[in-house]
């Protein structure tokens, strides 16, 4: 039967053959959904897709027509399950040479769906972003950012602002993908200000957007290997913490080019984003508790933290310590780090002890707030025994740092003493109750 079909398809032109395959997918997968307990796409069908949709050479016009047909095909499909299966049949990566064409077509389709507001396609794309490997997700996101930030600068804000409300699922995954893509390690890997602006406005409009994927994912389901994070939280924390150092570096270069800076300033955007991230973190305990995951799901992995801190160390090294405002930016970075660590810990997003953190952060320069966070709050006598918050989960407080064998000690910075010449070292005074308390 498949053979007959292939024969007839071969006689058709590329566009009508592709159309025929889509039609076939619709009928075939509708039947699957109706009759099979676990509907799936069989290999011959996948081959038909590859041969007649992905491999056939088409003119630009034909390709545009094909995209239009696909758009309406997904739009008109009333059953979510069938739509997901068709999308999966077309775009699930198979690990063969067709994947390149697949990615190319997917990029164009999603870009078009954003432009014309095809929510069903964006929903399918969100699912795809959850199931596919990070590498491909990042590629898709990168293509979209190119389309909307580079190719059509200025078109991004109005078009993309709409989709945050129509497809939060897609937006959440998109943010996770772009935070993975842009790690602020180089200028190229710093998010364009337009993108940043859009992400900030999305999250400010609805902080829960960040948690949509987490909210929609059943607690029992396991993530495929190498897929994107469940939330963009870790990525966003990295952005905010690194930005004072990274953007300082960028601006330095920008100024040397003599380019006038007409874009909105990134600084206030990151400040707002950082606040939003903290506010989202405060929402977490409720969400996690509801899902029974409180204290069991680390949304910020220790490895992410390790790499963030080592990135920070590298960025700090790159800075010119003699530059006037280096100190200010360093302190801002460290304060944001301290705030993110503290709130993430309290919110149950970061499952490690302050002791672990002290070890991780031992090489960082001194900052009052960081010190306060690393040592933890002073145990208070029960002033308000009736207080019925705190809504925030608490990791067990470690013993007093001066009693701990791993307590950070100024001497532990010895590997890089010369890196921070301008930085006043805090002498450890033995016998003082909390030697690294902030000097108020």
């Amino acid at each position: 039967m498949m053979g007959d079909m292939r024969q007839s398809l071969l006689r058709r032109d590329a566009l009508s053959a592709a159309k025929e395959v889509l039609y076939h997918l619709d009928i075939y997968l509708s039947g699957q959904v109706q009759n099979s307990p676990s509907p799936s796409v069989d290999t011959p069908t996948l081959e038909l897709v590859e041969e007649f949709i992905l491999h056939r050479r088409m003119s630009a016009l034909q390709e545009l027509q094909l995209l239009e047909i696909m758009c309406s095909c997904f739009q008109e499909q009333s059953r979510d399950a069938v739509r997901q299966l068709i999308f999966s049949a077309l775009f699930t990566l198979q690990g063969n040479q067709a994947d390149e064409s697949r990615m190319a077509l997917l990029g164009k389709l999603v870009s078009m769906a954003i432009a014309v507001g095809r929510v069903p396609i964006l929903e399918c794309a969100a699912t795809w972003l959850q199931r596919s490997h990070t590498v491909y997700c990042v590629r898709l996101a990168s293509g979209l950012v190119d389309d909307y930030c580079s190719l059509l600068p200025g078109s991004m804000v109005p078009t993309l602002n709409n989709i945050s409300s129509s497809s939060p699922q897609f937006c959440c995954q998109f943010i996770t993908a772009v935070t993975t893509l842009y790690d602020l390690s180089t200028e190229e890997l710093s998010p364009p200000v337009e993108l940043l602006q859009m992400v900030v406005s999305w999250i400010q409009d609805d902080p829960r957007l960040v948690l949509v994927t987490l909210l929609n994912t059943p607690a029992s389901s396991s993530q495929p290997m190498g897929s994107l994070d469940l939330t963009p939280l870790a990525g966003l924390v990295c952005w905010c913490v690194k930005s004072p150092l990274a953007y300082r570096r960028d601006r330095k270069q920008g100024l040397s080019n003599g380019m006038p800076d007409t874009k909105p300033e990134a600084g206030p955007l990151f400040s707002a984003l950082h606040l939003s991230v903290l506010q989202v973190l405060l929402l977490l305990p409720g969400v996690l508790r509801e899902k029974g995951l409180l204290g069991r799901l680390a949304l910020m992995q220790p490895e992410q933290l390790t790499s963030l801190i080592s990135d920070l160390s590298r960025l700090l090294e790159e800075l010119n310590p003699l530059q006037g405002d280096t100190q200010t930016h360093t302190q801002l970075t460290l304060e944001r780090l301290a705030q993110a660590l503290q709130v993430a810990m309290a919110a149950g997003a970061l499952l490690c002890s302050r002791e672990d953190l002290r070890a991780l952060c031992s090489h960082l320069p001194h900052n009052n707030l960081l010190q306060l966070v690393l040592s933890g709050p002073v145990q208070q006598s029960a002033f308000y025994p009736h207080v019925n918050t705190p809504p925030l989960g608490y990791s067990p407080r470690p013993l007093g740092p001066h009693l701990s064998a791993h307590s950070p000690h100024p001497t532990s910075r010895s590997p890089h003493p010369s890196s921070y010449p301008s930085y006043p070292s805090q002498p450890f005074i033995a016998g003082m109750a909390f030697p690294f308390r902030p000097s108020h």
Binding site: P268, S271, A272, H274, L275, L278, Q279, L282, E335, R336, A338, Q339, Q342, V343, M345, A346, A347, N368, L369, L372, V373, G376, P377, V378, Q379, Q380, F383, Y384, V387, N388, T389, P390, L392, A433, F434, R437, P438, H440
Partner: protein, 759 residues
Amino acid sequence: MSAQKDCDFLVKRARDLVSEDPCAAKAWLITARTLYPTDFNIQYEMYTIERNAEKTTSAGRLLYDMFINFPDQPVVWREITVITAALRSDCQDKQAQFLRGLFETLPGPVQCEMLLKATEQCFNTLEKAEMLLLLLRRFPESVVQHGVNLGESLLEAEAAEKLETPVNCFRKLFVCDVLPLIIKNMDMRLPTSLLQKYMLKAAEFYIGYVTRGPSADGQLQGKALNGSTHEGGGLKSPGVPRGSQRCVIEGLSEKSSVVSEPWERLLDILAVVGTRCEWQGDKGQRGFVEILQRVKELCRYLSNLEGETRLRYCSQVVICASLVLFRSAYLYSPPCVCGCVWVCVCGCVRTYLNIVGASGVNALASGPWILLEDLSSVYMEAELERGAGKHTHKKRKLADGREKTMSSDDEEGFGKGRGRHILVNKTELPGWAETLESFRLARESWELLHSHSCLETEFSKICASWKTDSWLWFRIFLTDMIIYQGQYRKALSSLLQMAVFQHTQSGLNSPGQSNLEHQRTLIQQASCHYALGEYRMACEKVLEVVGGLVPQSHDPVKNTEDQGKAKGKPKKGNDLRLLPCTNKSILPFCLQLMLACFKLRAFTESRDDLSLGHVVVLLQHDWPQGESMFLKAIDKICQQGSFQYENFFNYVTNIDMLEEFAYLRTTEGGRVQLELLPNQGMLIKNPSPSPGGELNTLLLPGVQTPDRHHTVTRGITKGVKEDFRLAMERQVSRCGENLYTVLHRFCINEKIMIIQSLP
């Protein structure tokens, strides 16, 4: 200790950052709160940032947290106090609006608890009540628990403060705010006695509110409260402030002192109370006319009822009829005795029109009106009487008889009073129809309330507790009702009381106002005396009134409509007239009344030249209305063959009359002997007096010399003839003189003589 230092450090950092980077400041505080969740200052700082940025939702959320977690923090309470104050106030500034919005974001139970706790902290009854009211309005379910207690506490506070007027802040709050909530809450079982008590409290307040004068606050005794103000009378100079600030009920803001449509509100309460007390009648009908109609019908069954049912019917009739009575009496009573500002507020169209309409034309037009005997047919009666007229003693009898009927028997007077006509000048009193209708409704309510002893008892209880005796406007109605009923003797004693009452208050009002009030009373007294046939008393009162009038520069407008009516409907006396209390209308009435008094004496068969002379002088007014009567007087003079009236040339300036008198002396005229010069001897001595000064000395009253009579009787000399001719000529030149000035002078200068010439 160290924790405190940490917290201080964190808050300080946030505070330093807030102006430059509010997001960073908030990030600091969020971090701080996760470190020290039980520290109040951190949360308060968070709240302060949101509050200052006027972020309603987030500030509300933080306030909620603080209220739950730090219920004992004085700062939280201070904040809650500020917010509840904003809720109570009618301030529209941005801050107050924000605070109200902030409160709205809080969950209902928290609002409820917050208000309750805030209430507990209030020691001032008024504030506490306002706070509780916020609670009751928002949470109707709390009415069951707190409603009646709040109401009672307000009434207790009112009693404890010994406030003399029902228009006070406690009563206002009770009647306008608390009571509707209580009686409309069907979950509450309220005994009928309580409902009726509350109903009367409400009625007393609304009546007091509508009728209270702006200047009544505080300074006057409650007794004086409702009747003491005469604003709007028009005699007050425009420069005197209309005292809107004085309209404020002490203890309340200007806005909450205003009650819109008080009669409507009272009807609302009446409707609900009626339903809850299971009153009889059509619940759908509203309006005072319908209410009166309903209780009138109810009254028919009253005598057949017993016990509980009878009591219920009785209460319904008394309460309803009393409300109709007081409202109608108020609407009837002249605006001068009610605060005009408040009258405007209550939407009394009649009064409003009067005030507004008057401002452009003549301020006096907005003055009060008076119910008086109708004298517009004064010129006609002479003819009728002449036709029927026979003998002197018969006339006397008539006067005596009249006195009897009017004063001796109230019942008869009452019966006679039914169906009396009240005439009005429609252009002078634009709202005449409503005024008369109110008068009728009030009278009918009064009659209803006195148709059964049980009703009368209940009604007098209400009157006693409300001290209606001291309501001047109500006394005015009562007096007018008595006059209408023809009980003039009773009316006179009521007027006397009113005069005393006014006298005690004259110190409190501007002279103009108390003067106006005084004149009102005097004229009405005169009218009553006249109706009783006590002409001398009537004239005495009238002349007292005229003495207080300022003669107007312009001639009063003659009302042709009136005259036509009087001619077309020659009714024999006993009609009443509603007259505006203005110079313009008063002086003509006074002149008519005097004419009415004198004409009876002038046309008796016995000779009374003095009365006849007065009649001639008075007939100049409204000339030629009194032409026929004048001709009758001329007839009489011709019959007599002589006529002696020394004041003739002082007060007669009417050219027609002068001509007629000149003619009388001629052969054709009958050679009537006229002695019209005050002192002909003096005229002879001064053959050529200059018309100005000399005449004035002659016009002085009381210059009649002892030998006057002698001079006059032998005065048909050539010299005298010449004097008469000269006087006539001079008189013709005076024709242009303002008649009212002349007649006013007549009343003033000849007062004693006029009074003495009446028995």
